[in-house]
Subunit: 225 residues, 2 copies
């Protein structure tokens, strides 16, 4: 059951809200719950039952694919106000691939349960349209990630990632382990460590346990040219 402030948040972020009739609005209000996930917790994977429509209130989620031998490739990351439809992919017949979704940080989501979302998606063309549109948005994110992985040399990819992180956190200190960065970039820890050390030797950054201090933003940007 949604409280007043969560209802406002939902109205703001689910673009189909105005296209719902009163009964449909009540269905959402009565079947949405707030759930907290701890950092690292897995919300959804191939074995899990289907979760429902996820709307992120605070925190962030990471969506990735997993090879049989345990390699992870991050497809995209979601933050406050983003909604996630792939956590309800079981009701979308044309989504035939599996992803894993975990919490990057402690995260609070509003979850519309799968049975209610399924009813709305089937009966209201605007909800169905929202589901597809949201998935096409993510398709664009995935294509960007894939082009990076397939086409961009690794030093540029790592530099791009560090610049993005700095602008996201508004800080020159990046508090991620080499292992985490490797996961985001679909690479191996050893490769990330080697490249970071090479950046350090050029005076671009300083490494310490669990954190990276960027010293020379300009030199980092020059790698992208």
């Amino acid at each position: 059951m949604l409280n007043e402030s969560d209802l406002e948040f939902t109205k703001k972020h689910l673009s189909f809200w105005d296209k719902l009739n009163e009964d449909e609005k009540k269905l959402i209000i009565n079947n949405t719950n707030k759930i907290k996930y701890n950092k690292g917790e897995i919300l959804h994977n191939a074995d899990n039952e289907c979760l429902g429509l996820v709307l992120i209130k605070t925190g962030g989620l990471r969506v990735y694919i997993l090879s049989e031998d345990g390699r992870e490739v991050t497809l995209y990351r979601l933050g406050n106000g983003d909604s996630c439809v792939l956590s309800a992919s079981c009701i979308l017949n044309n989504i035939t691939f599996d992803v894993v979704i975990d919490a990057e940080v402690d995260t609070e989501v509003l979850l519309l349960n799968i049975s209610t979302f399924s009813i709305l998606n089937k009966n209201n063309i605007y909800v169905e349209n929202f589901s597809y549109k949201n998935t096409v948005d993510r398709f664009s994110d995935v294509m960007w990630a894939i082009e990076q992985i397939l086409f961009m040399s690794f030093d540029k990819r790592l530099a791009t990632f560090l610049i993005d992180e700095m602008s996201k956190t508004k800080s020159t200190e990046i508090n991620l382990t080499h292992e985490q960065i490797a996961k985001y970039l679909g690479s191996a820890r050893e490769v990330v460590s080697r490249m970071l050390k090479s950046f350090e030797s050029k005076g671009i950054l300083k490494l310490s346990r669990g954190s990276i201090q960027v010293l020379d933003k300009e030199k980092l940007r020059e790698l992208l040219i």
Copy 2:
């Protein structure tokens, strides 16, 4: 302008047809043209103006991405009765990536021009829904291709490709060059040639100029285990 038989074909394959009013149906009939593309011809790329909604009557199209240094990675292939929305991606704001589309063989398409498709897509929620749904279908195709490229060892990928080709053409002879196969698999010609020769040495197939004769389907299938 659509003739009677092409109109029947269009009605059958554009799932939104029954949701159009009479004016909208007339718009489609008057603004769809039959176009022939020769094998190898490029229909659409990042520089091209936006083409419109493509419905394949006969032949086949290949959709791929291209790196700055000219590497191609095939995302998916389309055949008779398939429609292609990415050739109209300029009117879909949330598709932010570029693809190249070329004719794999001599191909005949029905093309609904971009201005008409744009009007219908904006004014009719069922057309918009078709566009998104079609794109989500392709998203699933792309994820399959990407998982193959990132996770599957190359011998398995090549074996999978040869088995798919045999079942598609219902023949044990595959009339493709090593260069073409490399493009389909996002690999290099040298890598394909080396692996095919290794298959030949195991008695799985016989190579000759421009064609591959599969001799032992069972051994090929065993590679997938």
